[in-house]
Symmetry: C2
Subunit: 320 residues, 2 copies
């Protein structure tokens, strides 16, 4: 197997969906230094959305990344490159410096299939500013085939560097992943591919290995799996398992030991039964997340009845 | 895919390695009823080793299964068949009733590769008494090829119904599993195969799916993954994910809700960093288990240094 793949650690960005980006500067710095020492190629340090466009009332440095702030907390870049994610309709072009003046190396654009045209407009802008770019098509498991084909036609002629297969609901298995990859490869032969998995069915690592084996280059993960709901593929599994001489597990273990155990006590992510159920049902975890924030959080049978009975779901989410 | 596979739930047997089989009768009954309602085909209710041969000083009903006791707690068999595991040199033939007089349907024999001859002697005895039988070859990931070939020659001519591929150290990935299966199938075309996985690398479910896809019939698992160290493939994932009309997830969720969350608070199993490390290193989890019982249980960097530096390992395990 060629070792041309790259890990993008999403602990801050996707993990921020768990704790509203309540990360200390010390943690982010320790993570950056740990990832660099471990040989992890990229760190996604947050979202570069606009606080104005999101009507934010409070500062949130990892959700609204600011170049001056980033230069302050990471005065010297080490091995690991930095990336940021943006959402359609939430980016102010005036916020984006040319890459030469920014600490960021890559900007990734998350979009649903119906917004691929808008996603590619952003990609063009970032590309022209000198950034590496990716387009991350979310909720892939529920995209109808004909929409995907239309999207591919647009993507093929864009300057985007990487196109992502995103298993937003954590509902895909290795066979599904392989099927998607072959389709993407056939229709986008000139693009590198990426994979972003969720761990609802404990398949995030296996799906990522399958992607790697099938030629996917960019592998998303999070330290100790920290990410929305069931979380992501674990960075420590990729770094520990992949045979690449530049990878070193120990610095990641240091980050887990120093920070992640306490964070996991405080915030919840990972293999938790309602998230498993939403994965089995190929559904967004939002209903399960609301349930976990209610008094009934451990009533798994009740939750299962609720999500497999449509009228009950509606009533429960309205209450939650 | 043909739906001729069978789940063997090992919660009591392998989970007992976590809590010294400290299971209440109520829990075992609830589990049996839940598995029956869920359509799980087999439940391994413990070990049928001899307390005399193990010099046991205390009673341990799930470690030393007794037919009279079993009939008392399960007066009426439901859907799920019952199995027991035995170890080489720990079984007293006088303890084994003919199947017609026993609650047990299947007796499985665990052995290391060097003891396959002795394992098959036990298999012969159980087979002649009317039981379904399996031979579970442990620590497969470190068995030299030539020993496996010798063992296969003996197994082929035995009456054993099922031969297991056991990933004792949780170190195998889906490709490794597929490779082993093809080898077993080629050399034992007349035997059904089984798979028993451990979850050190979060690959237990993926490995079990791979096995199923490749024609393995008997799938071991545990409710909520309860099993030694990193635990096993989760029964609720198999029952929830496999398309088989007779499977029903809800009864398993009921068992998890009523019992497993509290048990997981009390006893430790699952994805825990030192077990992940022993999986990456393809080593028995005993050093990691000892470490988790020491004051240094969360010192992952120290543990990593210890197990990757041979002389340090020796010193630490002697102290533990």
């Amino acid at each position: 197997m060629k070792n041309n793949h790259k890990i993008i650690d999403c602990t801050i960005r996707d993990g921020g969906l768990v704790n509203n980006w309540d990360f200390s500067v010390e943690f982010v710095q320790d993570l950056y230094n740990g990832l660099s020492a471990a040989g992890v190629e990229y760190m996604e340090i947050g979202y570069k959305n606009s606080p104005k466009l999101l009507n934010a009332t409070e500062p949130n440095p990892w959700r609204f990344l600011d170049d001056d702030f980033l230069k302050e907390i990471i005065p010297e870049k080490k091995f690991t490159k930095l990336s940021a994610l943006v959402d359609i309709g939430r980016v102010d072009p005036n916020d984006i410096l040319p890459r030469a003046e920014s600490v960021l190396d890559m900007i990734r654009v998350a979009c649903y299939i119906r917004e691929v045209d808008k996603g590619l407009e952003l990609v063009n802008m970032f590309h022209n500013l000198g950034y590496e770019t990716s387009l991350n098509i979310m909720a892939l498991s529920s995209v109808p085939e004909h929409q995907l084909i239309e999207a591919f036609a647009m993507i093929e002629n864009s300057p985007v560097d990487v196109v992502y297969i995103v298993d937003s609901f954590g509902s895909l298995d290795p066979d599904n992943i392989e099927y998607q990859i072959k389709k993407f490869q056939a229709m986008l032969p000139n693009k590198q591919l990426g994979i972003h998995t969720h761990n609802n069915l404990q398949l995030a690592f296996a799906n990522t290995l399958t992607a790697m084996k099938n030629g996917v280059t960019f592998l998303d993960s999070s330290v100790y799996g920290m990410g929305r709901a069931a979380g992501n593929c674990h960075t420590e599994l990729l770094v520990g398992y992949i045979q690449k001489t530049t990878y070193e597990l120990k610095p990641i273990l240091g980050v887990i030991e120093k920070h992640m155990l306490a964070m996991r006590e405080k915030w919840e992510w990972g293999y938790i039964i309602p998230f498993m159920i939403s994965g089995v049902l190929n559904e967004h975890p939002r209903v399960a997340m609301a349930y976990r924030n209610s008094d009934k959080r451990d009533n798994f049978v009740d939750f299962y009845d609720m999500v497999t009975t449509p009228e009950a779901t509606l009533a429960a989410t309205t209450k939650a």
